[in-house]
Symmetry: C2
Subunit: 253 residues, 2 copies
Amino acid sequence: SNNEDGNERNHNDEEIQKALEEVDSCQNEIDALNEQASEEILKVEQKYNLLRNPLYEKRNESLNKIPHFWVTAFVNHPDLSTILSDSEEDCLHHLSKVTIEEFEDIKSGFKLGFYFEENPYFENRVLTKEYHLDSLEEPTSKSTTIKWKEGFDLTSTKHATSKPGQKRGTEHKSFFSWFNDHSDPLSDDIAEIIKDDIYINPLQYFLVPDVGVDNGVDDEEGSDQEDETEEQGGGITGDTDEETHDIQNTVSE
Amino acid sequence: SNNEDGNERNHNDEEIQKALEEVDSCQNEIDALNEQASEEILKVEQKYNLLRNPLYEKRNESLNKIPHFWVTAFVNHPDLSTILSDSEEDCLHHLSKVTIEEFEDIKSGFKLGFYFEENPYFENRVLTKEYHLDSLEEPTSKSTTIKWKEGFDLTSTKHATSKPGQKRGTEHKSFFSWFNDHSDPLSDDIAEIIKDDIYINPLQYFLVPDVGVDNGVDDEEGSDQEDETEEQGGGITGDTDEETHDIQNTVSE
């Protein structure tokens, strides 16, 4: 009868509702554990950031003694090389230091710092681009306003010529158009390459030019690092992610 | 003179070589710290996996009391729904339990378990698909050979009809073609959806059908969970990632 069906239906509904409440209560415990795990992992990351920072500073001091280190590493990176125009490459010869500052709670963002020597292109000595990715607010990025010197604005249409046919792996047109672009801070491929690839181990890109990509060092500047690279003759491969670098064996010969 | 130039060049080369060695030594320390950080994070993840497992088991016991829970969650998932053919959807009404086992060192892989009631489609009661992603070896996946009952092989051309025009977010053609596909275990979007999205919190998909997507429950089966869903009337939104679910307030009215 309808009545019996109705009773059974109510009974089933009640059981299902009870089960859903059990699931929800379980889920709350799981969510709390996940939250706890995230916090614990964050603390580990913070701890290691503090341990890494003095090493990065020490590394920067040594890198500073190597002419055109950063531009060479950038140009040798298979993806980053594709966005660098010739003028930008020239400009980045004046890039003397790169820094990355993770904000204290890490999840909330980071700041890239590009330090320049006095150069013909712009007045600034430091260009920064920072990412604010706190999940509670709209993600944003902002960057230093570049004070271009007259006739040297690389973002003007006159200079902003990208390399045709060389694009791959990134949607950005040039280094400085990326620098000024704040449209999608959450998925910024160039920032990711600089932060999570090049910065982690720039030496591998400095030493080993990507096959088929111009290593970007102009011959007329008598670049010392080009000689270095030749001397090392492939002793260090690009596939160094899981290996310990042993530059001693290759450099000191 | 040439001689003086040569001396200066040698001097520079030496300095650069020394700097490169310093950088390399720093880099080794940084790499070691990164390695240490990874290990520590892995230990935290392992610890929380052990804590989560009994909660997942408890959750599975409660989920078992809710008719067609998993098929409803799958069908309500905006991406997963696009690969489910009508026959597969019918077949998944017999899916009673989903499990995920992370291998002990986590990085090395995981195993998905799909438990089925006796059903018209195949003899197996458990279908597993496992991913071996140890970085030292070629990544592989393998899955249970499905013993289809005669005339019910959903991977045969007769049954393998995908929904036209509904595809988005995934390259797989159907659930069982995904299950049998081992071509790219490192970037398996469906495994990722099941493991890192649905399994983490399946209740949100069970409760809230994606707008515009058929919730996939056949009316003639008198589905109880459809009534449940209507009763809750959007009290829990799809945007629950960072919130604590409070089903009590919505279900118990």
